[in-house]
Protein backbone atom coordinates (compact mmCIF):
# COMPACT_ATOMS: atom_id res chain seq x y z
CA UNK A 1 0.00 0.00 0.00
CA UNK A 2 1.47 3.30 -1.07
CA UNK A 3 1.25 5.81 1.76
CA UNK A 4 1.60 9.02 -0.26
CA UNK A 5 0.91 8.76 -3.97
CA UNK A 6 1.22 11.36 -6.68
CA UNK A 7 -0.04 11.32 -10.24
CA UNK A 8 1.29 11.60 -12.78
CA UNK A 9 4.87 10.48 -12.23
CA UNK A 10 6.06 12.25 -15.37
CA UNK A 11 4.50 15.24 -17.11
CA UNK A 12 5.80 16.84 -20.29
CA UNK A 13 3.88 19.84 -21.53
CA UNK A 14 4.22 22.99 -23.59
CA UNK A 15 4.69 26.51 -22.30
CA UNK A 16 1.45 28.29 -21.61
CA UNK A 17 -0.54 25.16 -20.78
CA UNK A 18 -2.42 24.55 -17.54
CA UNK A 19 -1.76 21.31 -15.67
CA UNK A 20 -2.58 19.62 -12.39
CA UNK A 21 -0.71 17.21 -10.17
CA UNK A 22 -2.70 15.11 -7.72
CA UNK A 23 -1.64 13.85 -4.33
CA UNK A 24 -3.37 11.45 -1.99
CA UNK A 25 -2.32 10.03 1.37
CA UNK A 26 -3.91 7.05 3.10
CA UNK A 27 -2.16 7.55 6.43
CA UNK A 28 -4.90 9.56 8.09
CA UNK A 29 -2.55 12.52 8.44
CA UNK A 30 -3.80 16.04 9.07
CA UNK A 31 -1.00 17.97 7.38
CA UNK A 32 0.09 17.91 3.73
CA UNK A 33 2.80 19.75 1.82
CA UNK A 34 4.07 20.54 -1.65
CA UNK A 35 7.79 20.89 -2.26
CA UNK A 36 9.70 21.82 -5.41
CA UNK A 37 13.08 20.22 -6.16
CA UNK A 38 15.05 22.06 -8.82
CA UNK A 39 17.82 20.83 -11.10
CA UNK A 40 20.41 21.48 -8.36
CA UNK A 41 18.42 19.23 -6.01
CA UNK A 42 17.38 22.16 -3.78
CA UNK A 43 14.12 21.34 -1.99
CA UNK A 44 11.88 24.29 -1.28
CA UNK A 45 8.54 24.27 0.46
CA UNK A 46 5.69 25.78 -1.52
CA UNK A 47 2.51 25.16 0.47
CA UNK A 48 1.25 23.39 3.54
CA UNK A 49 -2.30 22.54 4.51
CA UNK A 50 -3.59 21.39 7.87
CA UNK A 51 -7.06 19.83 7.84
CA UNK A 52 -7.84 21.49 4.50
CA UNK A 53 -6.71 24.89 5.76
CA UNK A 54 -3.76 26.67 4.15
CA UNK A 55 -1.08 27.32 6.80
CA UNK A 56 2.06 27.91 4.75
CA UNK A 57 2.19 29.81 1.50
CA UNK A 58 5.75 30.61 0.51
CA UNK A 59 6.65 33.12 -2.15
CA UNK A 60 5.18 31.21 -5.04
CA UNK A 61 3.74 32.77 -8.23
CA UNK A 62 -0.04 33.12 -8.32
CA UNK A 63 -0.05 30.69 -11.22
CA UNK A 64 0.34 27.94 -8.62
CA UNK A 65 -2.85 27.16 -6.76
CA UNK A 66 -3.19 24.30 -4.28
CA UNK A 67 -6.56 22.74 -3.58
CA UNK A 68 -7.46 20.43 -0.74
CA UNK A 69 -10.93 18.90 -1.22
CA UNK A 70 -10.45 16.83 1.93
CA UNK A 71 -7.60 16.19 4.31
CA UNK A 72 -6.43 13.12 2.37
CA UNK A 73 -5.89 15.06 -0.86
CA UNK A 74 -3.79 18.05 -1.83
CA UNK A 75 -3.69 18.85 -5.52
CA UNK A 76 -1.50 21.39 -7.26
CA UNK A 77 -2.79 23.31 -10.25
CA UNK A 78 -0.41 25.33 -12.37
CA UNK A 79 -1.60 27.90 -14.90
CA UNK A 80 0.34 29.28 -17.86
CA UNK A 81 3.32 27.00 -17.42
CA UNK A 82 6.78 28.49 -17.92
CA UNK A 83 10.14 26.89 -18.70
CA UNK A 84 11.33 27.69 -15.17
CA UNK A 85 8.56 25.55 -13.70
CA UNK A 86 10.42 22.44 -14.86
CA UNK A 87 11.33 20.56 -11.68
CA UNK A 88 10.37 17.58 -9.56
CA UNK A 89 7.40 18.30 -7.33
CA UNK A 90 7.04 16.32 -4.13
CA UNK A 91 3.94 15.93 -2.05
CA UNK A 92 4.32 14.98 1.61
CA UNK A 93 2.19 14.46 4.68
CA UNK A 94 2.73 14.36 8.42
CA UNK A 95 0.42 13.34 11.27
CA UNK A 96 -0.03 16.90 12.47
CA UNK A 97 1.78 20.19 12.84
CA UNK A 98 3.73 19.10 15.89
CA UNK A 99 7.41 19.70 15.35
CA UNK A 100 8.82 16.26 16.03
CA UNK A 101 6.62 14.33 13.61
CA UNK A 102 8.08 12.74 10.50
CA UNK A 103 7.01 13.74 7.01
CA UNK A 104 6.23 11.01 4.47
CA UNK A 105 6.94 11.80 0.84
CA UNK A 106 5.43 10.78 -2.45
CA UNK A 107 7.63 9.50 -5.26
CA UNK A 108 7.64 12.87 -7.00
CA UNK A 109 6.28 14.24 -10.26
CA UNK A 110 8.89 15.23 -12.82
CA UNK A 111 7.46 18.18 -14.73
CA UNK A 112 9.17 19.20 -17.97
CA UNK A 113 7.98 22.33 -19.74
CA UNK A 114 9.09 22.62 -23.36
Amino acid sequence: DTAVSQTPKYLVTQMGNDKSIKCEQNLGHDTMYWYKQDSKKFLKIMFSYNNKELIINETVPNRFSPKSPDKAHLNLHINSLELGDSAVYFCASSPDRVSNTEAFFGQGTRLTVV
Binding site: Y35, F42, L43, I45, S48, I56, A92, R97, S99, N100
Partner: protein, 109 residues
Protein backbone atom coordinates in the same frame (compact mmCIF):
# COMPACT_ATOMS: atom_id res chain seq x y z
CA UNK B 1 15.93 34.56 9.20
CA UNK B 2 15.72 30.78 9.22
CA UNK B 3 18.62 29.18 7.43
CA UNK B 4 20.10 25.72 7.01
CA UNK B 5 23.60 25.29 5.64
CA UNK B 6 25.13 22.14 4.26
CA UNK B 7 28.52 23.35 3.07
CA UNK B 8 29.45 20.35 0.94
CA UNK B 9 27.56 19.71 -2.28
CA UNK B 10 29.47 16.49 -2.86
CA UNK B 11 31.35 14.27 -0.45
CA UNK B 12 33.30 11.41 -1.92
CA UNK B 13 34.77 8.76 0.38
CA UNK B 14 36.17 5.28 0.07
CA UNK B 15 34.27 2.29 1.37
CA UNK B 16 35.14 1.73 5.01
CA UNK B 17 36.18 5.34 5.59
CA UNK B 18 34.44 7.54 8.20
CA UNK B 19 31.79 9.94 7.00
CA UNK B 20 30.70 13.29 8.38
CA UNK B 21 28.03 15.34 6.63
CA UNK B 22 27.91 18.83 8.05
CA UNK B 23 24.80 20.81 8.89
CA UNK B 24 24.56 24.21 10.56
CA UNK B 25 21.30 25.98 11.20
CA UNK B 26 20.08 29.40 12.18
CA UNK B 27 16.53 29.15 13.47
CA UNK B 28 14.29 31.05 15.84
CA UNK B 29 13.10 29.05 18.82
CA UNK B 30 14.13 25.44 19.31
CA UNK B 31 13.52 23.51 16.12
CA UNK B 32 13.43 19.77 15.89
CA UNK B 33 16.23 18.45 13.69
CA UNK B 34 15.97 15.68 11.12
CA UNK B 35 18.11 14.06 8.46
CA UNK B 36 16.34 12.85 5.33
CA UNK B 37 17.89 10.66 2.63
CA UNK B 38 17.06 10.23 -1.04
CA UNK B 39 18.49 7.12 -2.68
CA UNK B 40 18.71 7.01 -6.46
CA UNK B 41 15.24 6.89 -8.03
CA UNK B 42 13.54 6.62 -4.66
CA UNK B 43 11.42 8.96 -2.61
CA UNK B 44 12.76 11.11 0.15
CA UNK B 45 12.61 9.31 3.50
CA UNK B 46 13.47 10.00 7.10
CA UNK B 47 16.89 8.75 8.19
CA UNK B 48 16.88 9.94 11.77
CA UNK B 49 15.65 12.65 14.13
CA UNK B 50 17.56 14.14 17.01
CA UNK B 51 14.79 13.61 19.53
CA UNK B 52 14.99 9.83 19.27
CA UNK B 53 18.79 9.70 19.69
CA UNK B 54 18.94 6.43 17.80
CA UNK B 55 21.36 5.05 15.25
CA UNK B 56 19.89 4.18 11.87
CA UNK B 57 21.92 2.19 9.31
CA UNK B 58 24.97 3.02 11.41
CA UNK B 59 24.39 6.78 11.19
CA UNK B 60 24.20 9.06 14.22
CA UNK B 61 23.77 12.79 14.58
CA UNK B 62 24.49 14.93 17.61
CA UNK B 63 22.69 18.18 18.16
CA UNK B 64 25.09 20.88 19.35
CA UNK B 65 22.94 23.81 20.41
CA UNK B 66 25.96 25.96 21.19
CA UNK B 67 27.34 25.65 17.67
CA UNK B 68 23.84 25.21 16.17
CA UNK B 69 25.06 22.15 14.32
CA UNK B 70 23.59 18.73 13.62
CA UNK B 71 26.30 16.83 11.77
CA UNK B 72 25.59 13.33 10.47
CA UNK B 73 28.26 10.71 11.08
CA UNK B 74 29.02 7.11 10.28
CA UNK B 75 32.25 5.36 11.26
CA UNK B 76 32.51 3.09 8.20
CA UNK B 77 30.88 4.05 4.90
CA UNK B 78 29.20 1.40 2.76
CA UNK B 79 28.46 1.50 -0.97
CA UNK B 80 24.72 1.48 -0.28
CA UNK B 81 25.09 4.74 1.64
CA UNK B 82 25.56 6.60 -1.64
CA UNK B 83 22.63 9.04 -1.81
CA UNK B 84 21.54 12.65 -1.31
CA UNK B 85 21.32 13.67 2.32
CA UNK B 86 19.28 16.61 3.55
CA UNK B 87 19.44 18.25 6.93
CA UNK B 88 15.98 19.51 7.90
CA UNK B 89 14.97 21.62 10.88
CA UNK B 90 11.28 21.83 11.68
CA UNK B 91 9.78 24.59 13.73
CA UNK B 92 8.28 28.04 13.78
CA UNK B 93 4.62 28.95 14.16
CA UNK B 94 3.54 26.71 11.31
CA UNK B 95 5.99 23.91 12.13
CA UNK B 96 7.60 24.38 8.75
CA UNK B 97 9.95 21.63 7.59
CA UNK B 98 12.86 23.33 5.83
CA UNK B 99 15.57 21.51 3.90
CA UNK B 100 19.23 22.31 3.50
CA UNK B 101 20.78 22.37 0.06
CA UNK B 102 21.69 18.71 0.34
CA UNK B 103 24.97 16.80 0.20
CA UNK B 104 25.55 14.02 -2.28
CA UNK B 105 27.51 11.23 -0.62
CA UNK B 106 29.44 9.05 -3.02
CA UNK B 107 31.05 5.91 -1.59
CA UNK B 108 33.56 4.29 -3.88
CA UNK B 109 35.52 1.06 -3.69
Amino acid sequence: AQRVTQPEKLLSVFKGAPVELKCNYSYSGSPELFWYVQYSRQRLQLLLRHISRESIKGFTADLNKGETSFHLKKPFAQEEDSAMYYCAPKGGTASKLTFGTGTRLQVTL
